[in-house]
């Protein structure tokens, strides 16, 4: 007996909707799309994300760039992996955070490894800064999209590097089809809807590290409460001219002590 067809796709209102995990990725949808995409020559390309990471939030602060995300990766509606590191260092000057298909993120890390290795082997005193890596990733994502074989990710690239005007902080984002831009604060996935309004209201130019952490925790908490695929285990990373630090994972304090939650059947006995 054939398995039941999957639930219809959720309304797509933003590019990051593509990053949201499909409800129950079933074999049937994979077969159908594979067969259709294959056509005559039998090649198959992944057209759906399977194991997906959540939002990544990042912003510039006084000394550099701070980035945070949760450590979960979902398989459809299952919270399959709970200790996944989705922020990594790239070279000496940058941090990369990825949401979306986790295996594609690992592939991107492999590309970046090759890139930084080659750069290191030149041994000419130069090193790739965040701007260069952002440009490289933009080209990679765009060209994969052109071949109809995308890396199903939204990447956040942040870093600090000495430039002609002193230490230049840089923060940018690329999505799976190559749309890219630079901003003072970035959020992918659901963060676009929930964290960006907070950041737009409360971000200031010269925040100290403590203030930046407080602001980012505020955003992470909102996502924890309202994004069903987020878990209460977060990692914060920062990058300054001294170098990068990825802090160990920790949990945020949540408050569920609302009167309506305490006794939910108060007004309607028998409800659950």
């Amino acid at each position: 007996a054939t398995p039941p067809s999957p639930a219809p796709a959720e309304p797509r209102s933003s590019s990051d909707e593509r990053n949201q995990s499909r409800i129950n990725p079933s074999r049937e949808s994979m077969d159908a799309s594979a067969a259709a995409a294959g056509g005559g020559d039998g090649t198959q390309r992944t057209l759906n994300p399977y194991v997906t990471g959540n939002s990544v939030i990042a912003m510039k602060y006084k000394d550099g760039v701070i980035m945070a995300c949760d450590t979960g990766a979902s398989y459809g509606s299952t919270l399959r992996y709970k200790s996944v590191e989705r922020i990594k260092e790239v070279g000496k000057h940058s941090l990369i955070g990825g949401s979306g298909e986790f295996s594609d993120f690992q592939e991107i890390l492999r590309y970046l490894d090759e890139l930084t290795l080659n750069d290191h082997m030149w041994d000419d005193g130069n090193s790739l800064g965040p701007k260069e890596i952002h440009a490289y990733l933009t080209r990679v994502m765009y060209n994969r999209r052109n071949k109809f074989d995308p890396l199903w990710n939204s990447l956040v690239l942040g870093g600090v590097k000495k430039g002609p005007k002193g230490d230049e902080k840089y923060l940018g984002m690329v999505n799976m089809i190559g749309t890219h831009f630079e901003e003072n604060h970035i959020a992918t996935g659901f963060g676009n809807h929930m964290a960006i309004p907070i950041l737009r209201g409360e971000w200031r130019e010269d925040m100290t590290f403590e203030e930046a952490v407080k602001l980012i925790e505020k955003c992470l908490l909102v996502l924890l409460y309202r994004d069903r695929s987020s878990i209460n285990k977060f990692q914060i990373a920062k990058i300054t001219t001294e170098g990068s630090t990825i802090y160990p994972p920790y949990a945020l304090k949540t408050n569920w002590g609302f009167a309506a939650f305490e006794n939910p059947s108060k007004g309607a006995v028998g409800t659950w």
């Binding site: 797509r12 590019s15 799309s33 259709a36 056509g39 999209r145 052109n146 109809f148 089809i177 890219h180």
Partner: protein, 281 residues
């Protein structure tokens, strides 16, 4: 027997499935019909119900159309004068109902007398502008001079048509000074058909702006003989004021236009740039 002897005997050759072969071959990256382009413009952010027909090459194409393009919005305007050209574009980058950033430039200076403004899918726009800038550099190296605006106009048209079956989702407006120093504006569609005009608007707010420009700049009919000059007799500052006005008006009604407008003015003396604030809602 020649080549015949090299082929394995008929019985050993694998049976070809002629029915499968008869179906149109999916040639992958070379073909993505204009239908995808139209899907991206028409469906926007409403729930598109998937087609209920069985998987066939056409459905595969439309399924690919779900994600290969996106419309990042924005409006571009250009006005040509007797000895100047004004090219302007807003700086908002959107996707669906979200604003990604309020400070994103859609304008690229390709040559000293040639500026392009594009709206549409930002990935394609950046790739296209990068492509043109690289070709202009090559031209400089080969001809020991910068590309003129009419030459760039033809190059842009050819570049767009080159990707006729998987288009650059970019709606372009090219502005600058021609070889005589007169203002020129070229307006394009996504696949490269273009025309030299006196003024043009492209992008999400173009339908709001174009009628106003038609009214204010009173372009002579292209059917007149002898052909009348389409460049406006307005002065540079009057043209810039008109551009500010049309953007302010478009911002009121078009959700994808707003934040800031970047105005680039090219004249004999060179190029200057100014930014005017627009409504941020």
């Amino acid at each position: 027997n020649g080549l015949r002897s090299l082929r394995p005997p008929r019985s050993r050759r694998p049976r070809r499935n002629l029915i499968k072969e008869g179906r149109k071959r999916d040639t992958g990256h070379r073909t993505a019909p204009l239908r995808l382009l139209l899907q991206a413009t028409n469906s926007g952010d409403s729930t598109t119900s998937p087609p209920s027909s069985p998987p066939s090459p056409t459905t595969a194409m439309s399924r690919r159309g779900d994600w290969v393009y996106e419309n990042n919005g924005g409006t571009c305007v250009a006005i040509a004068g007797a000895d100047y050209c004004v090219v302007a574009a807003d700086t908002r980058l959107s996707v669906g109902y979200n604003i990604l950033t309020r400070e994103h430039s859609k304008i690229c200076e390709l040559a000293d007398k040639c500026v392009i403004a594009s709206s549409g899918f930002q990935g394609d726009i950046k790739a296209l502008q990068k492509n043109l800038a690289a070709r202009e550099l090559l031209y400089q190296h080969q001809h020991n001079k910068r590309m003129s605006c009419p030459a760039m106009a033809q190059l842009l048209s050819n570049t767009l048509y080159y990707k006729r079956f998987f288009p650059y989702y970019a709606f372009n407006v090219l502005g600058g000074l021609d070889s005589e120093g007169k203002g020129c504006v070229y307006s394009y569609d996504a696949v490269g058909s273009y025309e030299r005009t006196g003024y043009s608007a492209q992008g999400s707010g173009s339908t709001l702006i174009m009628p106003v420009l038609d009214n204010q700049l009173k372009s002579p009919s292209p059917l007149l003989v002898p052909a009348r000059d389409a460049v406006t007799p307005l002065s540079e500052s009057e043209a810039v004021d008109l551009v500010k006005d049309v953007f302010a008006s478009a911002t009121e009604r078009d959700i994808y236009t707003g934040d800031k407008v970047e105005i680039v003015v090219i004249n004999k003396a060179g190029t200057r740039r100014e930014y005017i604030e627009l409504r941020k809602d």
